[in-house]
């Protein structure tokens, strides 16, 4: 499943170690969940235990991990998270329910999601502290939302100069969203748009959140076709005749793939020279979707787990 990374990015030096909490983010549909599950699997295989935290309904993580996984799977529900965080502040679950259920508070909280998201981060912190010594992997929301989420503790701490929300935000900064506690893993695809968004995300993570990505994984990197196939396709096109249009189709496909590879390497190459701190990991396209165990094996082989 793994193959040699392309020449330009090839130094296979050691990668920085991952923190106890690993936050996986990237653009929608790039394979975040698969990678998050893979990192958790690799940790479970090595250390016997790991936690995968997911937001939403928990279906994706469950499907990726499979029934026999040793990874503990936790799903954070926004409503429960809010109740838990408010109960912590008020010192009582009953009071928290009364407050959240209030006719005026309820619509305000629904319309002002920042509070809900802060509460969800707080639950991640609680889970992480409940599993000391275990690798905790969080399948984060996609780029824009994920970044806004990670910026939230500092924003909220500054907005609330004092009081319980200020304290909660400060606690999140000290014990969760800090370089000593967590590592960010960014997943991307070899497509121009996705890559430029990724580079922007990496810079923003470093500059705005103080968490430069510890890993950058390029998923679905096109596999090579034999270079001489170009010459053959060009010769058939030049010769004309019945097969020429077919050869042109093949040329188009070969060009599309080479262009995708070239663009990816060029964009990543320039990022590595400027702000990116990590060697990009290239996961070659497999026609069938890889399982979490496949990804775990690949990560271990790359020395990236």
């Amino acid at each position: 499943m793994a193959s040699a990374p392309p020449d330009k990015l090839s130094p296979r030096g050691a990668l920085p170690p991952l923190g106890p909490v690993v936050l996986v983010t990237g653009k929608g549909g790039v394979g975040k969940t698969t990678l998050a599950a893979g990192i958790a699997e690799a940790a479970a295989a090595r250390e016997g235990r790991a936690v995968l935290i997911e937001f939403g309904d928990g279906e994706s993580g469950k499907r990726m991990l499979g029934a026999r996984s040793k990874v503990a799977h936790r799903v954070v529900d926004p409503r429960d998270a809010m109740e838990r965080a408010v109960a912590n502040i008020l010192g009582s679950t009953i009071l928290a329910r009364l407050f959240i259920g209030n006719f005026a508070v309820r619509p305000m909280l629904r319309a002002a999601p920042a509070m809900r998201e802060l509460a969800m981060l707080e639950v991640v912190r609680i889970y992480a502290e409940e599993h000391p010594g275990a690798r905790v992997v969080v399948d984060m929301p996609a780029t824009g939302h994920g970044l806004a989420w990670l910026r939230l503790p500092v924003q909220m701490r500054d907005m609330f100069a004092s009081g319980p929300i200020h304290d909660l935000a400060q606690r999140l900064i000290d014990r969760l969203v800090s370089p000593s506690r967590c590592s960010v893993v960014v997943v991307t695809l070899p497509e121009r748009l996705v890559l430029s968004e990724t580079i922007e995300l990496c810079r923003a993570l470093e500059v705005e959140v103080g968490l430069p990505p510890a890993r950058l994984v390029v998923n679905r990197f096109p596999r090579d076709l034999p270079a001489e196939a170009w010459d053959a396709a060009r010769a058939i096109t030049a010769r004309g005749g019945e097969s020429a249009p077919a050869a042109q189709q093949l040329l188009r496909m070969l060009d599309a793939r080479r262009e995708a590879q070239r663009e990816a390497l060029e964009i990543l190459g320039s990022a590595v020279k400027t702000s990116l701190h990590t060697r990009p990991l290239i996961l070659r396209e497999q026609m069938e979707d890889p399982s979490a165990t496949d990804v775990a094996a690949w990560l271990t082989e790359e020395g990236a787990a």
Partner: protein, 368 residues
Amino acid sequence: MATKVPVTIVCAGGGGVGKTTSSAALAVALARTGKKTLIVTVDPARRLAHAMGVEVTEEIQPAHVEPAVEGKLFALMPEPRRSTPTFAKVLYEGRPDDLARVMKNPVYLTMADAAAGMHEIVSLILVAKAIDEGDYDYLVIDTAPSRNALDFVSYPGRLAVLFEGRAVGWLGNLASNVAQDDRGPGLFASMEKRVEAMFGRILNPRVLKDLAQLFADLALIKDRFARFARMSERMLLGERTRYLLVSAPTGSAQADVSFLAKRLARLNHEPTALLLNRSDEREPEWIAALRAEAPGWPPLAEAMTQVEHEFQVRKRAGDRLSAALGKELVRVPQVRLPTLESPDPAQIVRELATKLEPHLATLVRPIG
């Protein structure tokens, strides 16, 4: 004000399924029939935008994809990172002082920036404004690539509830008490109601003050917002709305579609059709044609073996996806589209549009 209510096609699906490209292709196919069409991309792909000859901004622009759709196809691709200022700019149009105050309010900036659905709301408001100002026959909305994509249907309503109910008055009063009488944390000691006291314990006076100002400022544009919210709701849940679920044989795409179909059912809607991307049904003719040439060219033979293998794997995955979704969404027609590889995104859009043409009647038919 526009008299025409366009037929709206909402495209929804998980990430990485080629939703943006196929939505653009659908818009091109509709525009080819001579109808005035607007494509709105909530999460724009800059490369595709450039290929269609438009910029990523809050302005509607004529798209340039091919001569056949000149003057018929328009695109709106708002920049996601600008939604916090755009929201305020659109709602406070003609009120520069109020706009400046809102843009300085830390509560607004933090909340709007972190709000998950903010960009969708902004896009909807821009669309509502657009159809208010121009006569479109078709409106194609490419939603954000997420399971929550359809939540935005309920955002306008949710915010409207906040404005229409007792909540704003209560919060406004509570907050304005603080604004007038800023004596610090002891302030709420005399308050009788428990919830009010809890509010005081959870928030702090400074924030309540900014919150009060924000509510007062929002009250100014309440009617304008409510009008856009009602228009968006009609646009998204009206009888001229069609829902197209887009999937592809990858990752969680199938589970995402089932999830979205259930979500639609709760909104009393059903998918008009399923669009299955990268789900090749038959081998492209060029593969067979080149295979005939292969014996004379060993590297070509090797390449063709790999291409053919890839195609077989894709076809199997497409068949599996189609069968699974067919079983689950029995009454929903499927349109399967092949994998197209080209270095030019505009070419892919044009070719997909041609593939969609025979299915247009299915894709825009009324439901029920």
